[in-house]
Symmetry: C2
Subunit: 422 residues, 2 copies
């Protein structure tokens, strides 16, 4: 980590800051919020710490709360609570919307704007910063990264992803045990429309050669239904069972989501951006299970869709993730204090190469354009040649992020007793 406690000049300019949270909640997004707020409260030049409820929508509607008035104990308890404490939004502001946001910032004399979110939130910060500059309003802006999808460019990983990955690991470790106890085919559908990182995390549930998941299907590769079924058949013949991790974003060669392909003719909800709704429905798992039953003739086939549990479950969090989410929040504020600090930037987590294989990350600033409206996907080096699994390099990448205290299953040696009846 870079030095974070730069001495502040006594005559530093007054700071009136506004912070908001956007996009899907994570287990640690409130750590970043409290990182910003706690850091700000320690600075004498900070005159206002305002939170907007439900992201940009709260700024638009002037729905603001006074975070300076929160008790420190409340803030610490909230930091340990999953999901956006200020509320979030799916609004994706255009330039006109951003002009309205600026009006609120101006009315409240906001000098510093912090938006904790994903690539869409970074794009909002970019536009607001441009509009502020055009209007001659002195505004320092920071995008603070978060997303369980881990799809932000210029970051080793994003706060929120490690805790969601830990949930996926624990879920597949348990699902594999369950499937071992009552054998059949199990398909677990994981979030991530374009980036397969979270689905790939399932691979870290394995300890022994025959542990599941036995297949990992990522949105970075074209989904081939025949190859998928053949691989399940082969595993089922070999082990008497098969556990599969599938990304909600799997698609055919034309880029059409498999949910649409398999559900052709049925009504499918689309979101404000025109995308098919992939989350909050168990349809993809059910449709894939139908294919396995009807085409492979396997009777016990079960599907689970991890849904909202994977991003908001209370009590499943990576301590590495908590620490880093707090640190990016603190850093975001500190990064505005130097005389030569950039006006607008995005905060990024970067892994520090270590000769001894130990894990460390540092925090840096990068241009908003690196992150804004861009999508990072899995490196080829993380995906097996078969396209149906991850590589050891991915496990090496993810393992240190999962945090301490992860207990994985143990099994009996199972010494056979000689038959007497035969």
């Amino acid at each position: 980590m870079p030095a974070m406690n730069t001495p502040i000049a006594a005559d530093a300019s007054p700071i009136r800051l506004l912070v908001a949270q956007g996009g899907g909640p994570t287990a640690v997004i409130n750590q970043s919020l409290v990182g910003i707020v706690a850091e700000a409260r320690a600075l004498p030049q900070v005159q206002a710490i305002v939170g907007a409820r439900h992201g940009v929508r709260g700024i638009l509607r002037e729905d603001l709360v006074d975070l300076a008035a929160e008790a420190p104990a409340t803030l610490e308890a909230v930091a340990a609570t999953p999901a956006a404490a200020l509320g979030s939004t799916r609004d994706k502001p255009d330039r006109d919307y951003c002009k309205k946001l600026l009006r609120t910032l101006q009315a409240h004399g906001i000098t510093h704007f912090f938006y904790i979110g994903g690539n869409d939130s970074a794009d909002t910060v970019r536009i607001v910063a441009e509009e502020a500059a055009a209007a001659g309003h002195l505004l320092v802006s920071r995008h603070v990264p978060k997303t369980i999808d881990n799809d932000l460019m210029g970051n080793d990983h994003t706060p929120g992803f490690p805790s969601a990955a830990r949930f996926v690991v624990q879920a597949f470790a348990g699902a594999d045990l369950d499937n071992r106890a009552l054998p059949g085919v199990y398909i677990g559908v994981v979030m991530g429309r374009h980036a397969g990182f979270l689905t790939a995390a399932a691979a870290l549930a394995r300890q022994q050669a025959d542990d599941g998941p036995h297949l990992v299907c990522l949105p970075e590769r074209v989904f081939d239904l025949d190859a998928f079924l053949a691989a399940i058949k082969s595993t089922h013949e070999r082990l008497g069972r098969c556990v599969v991790a599938v990304s909600e974003g799997i698609h055919d060669a034309a880029g059409t989501p498999m949910l649409s392909v398999l559900a052709a003719g049925k009504g499918l909800e689309r979101d404000a951006h025109g995308n098919v709704q992939l989350s909050g429905t168990g349809a993809l798992a059910d449709l894939l299970c139908e294919q396995v039953k009807s085409r492979l003739g396997i009777s016990r086939v079960r599907g689970d869709t991890f849904g909202y549990l994977q991003r908001s479950f209370v009590g499943c969090v990576s301590d590495v993730d908590q620490h880093e989410a707090r640190a990016v929040g603190s850093f975001a504020l500190q990064s505005t204090l130097a005389a030569d600090a950039p006006t607008a930037a995005s905060v990024a987590l970067r892994r520090v190469p270590a000769q001894d294989g130990s894990y460390a990350c540092e925090i840096a600033l990068q241009p908003l354009t690196v992150v804004a409206a861009q999508t990072r996907t899995m490196d080829d080096a993380f995906i097996a040649a078969s396209g149906l699994d991850t590589t050891p390099a991915f496990a090496d990448y993810l393992r240190p992020l999962l945090g301490s205290g992860l207990v994985l299953p143990s099994r009996l040696a199972g010494h056979p007793v000689a038959k007497r009846l035969g």
Copy 2:
């Protein structure tokens, strides 16, 4: 707890025991297994400790393992691992099947038979015990309770239920935060075909008056779709959002599962007992969401089906449950040692009334017929008059079972900032 360390006479009869696990896995079923095995290993008269793989099916097929040969450290690690370490089965033996089981027990000189499972497993123990008596084979049998459904008669609760309930509490606490951050309607479907205990557990996620779940729909009450939609509409108008806990077993006045009612005309899988498959599909949540969208005109409606995660998730366990599951296993073995011990019985957990409100359970034996093939459902005292919620009495009942270290959410005080634009 009754005294468990009764001194054993040096000339006690030799014991050759067989243990198996049946039905759906739980987070702590291996604690009961290890309770039996560890207790047996300490007794000089125990000559064999045999485990059957995949329940009665392993006995039928003579697929047996030597548990005396397992390292103690392995056993302890397995005790802390969810899901049946010996494997389980959905086989529901009839008398002919049980006669075959007896043949294996006789061939291996088994004197003591322990079956860890639910009401069907208790029924198997009953039939095997009858067949043994009829055949003149001296067999001591114990049914050891487990089920996440909490539906065994004569028990205050069953091992496995508290940990699954803890999962449901943590899941709804998180889902409610998520729904608060991005408001809409959220429906979470919980396991439990006939008994609503696990669904009802969702109520313990609430801390403040407006916390979800706002509705709890149990299989003990007839599901009225119109009343359900009216309650969601009312909550959504009042709070701008609504979180609902629904049992997979909800049914209409004729007893037809709502999954069948709502999916009329679509193909539905049935299990070996002719029941509609309720688990391993997201269909009920999706069908209920469709109703909310189409009939109430609410756009953001999301459904999750907790599926297998709720019974096998690694890393979500009640320490009270772990302790009790271990104790029922130990007790099961000890209960066979006294000179006047009953030949066949079921082990039961009974709550000890305490004047000071503290929680304690004792372990006792009860006749197999109390449990076998019977189903306990929620007491009326646990269900609100509306039929769409639980009562404080239920919360009092469940709270001590959830175990220590349960961290529930905290929220900001949220002092409003005065508007400047209006």
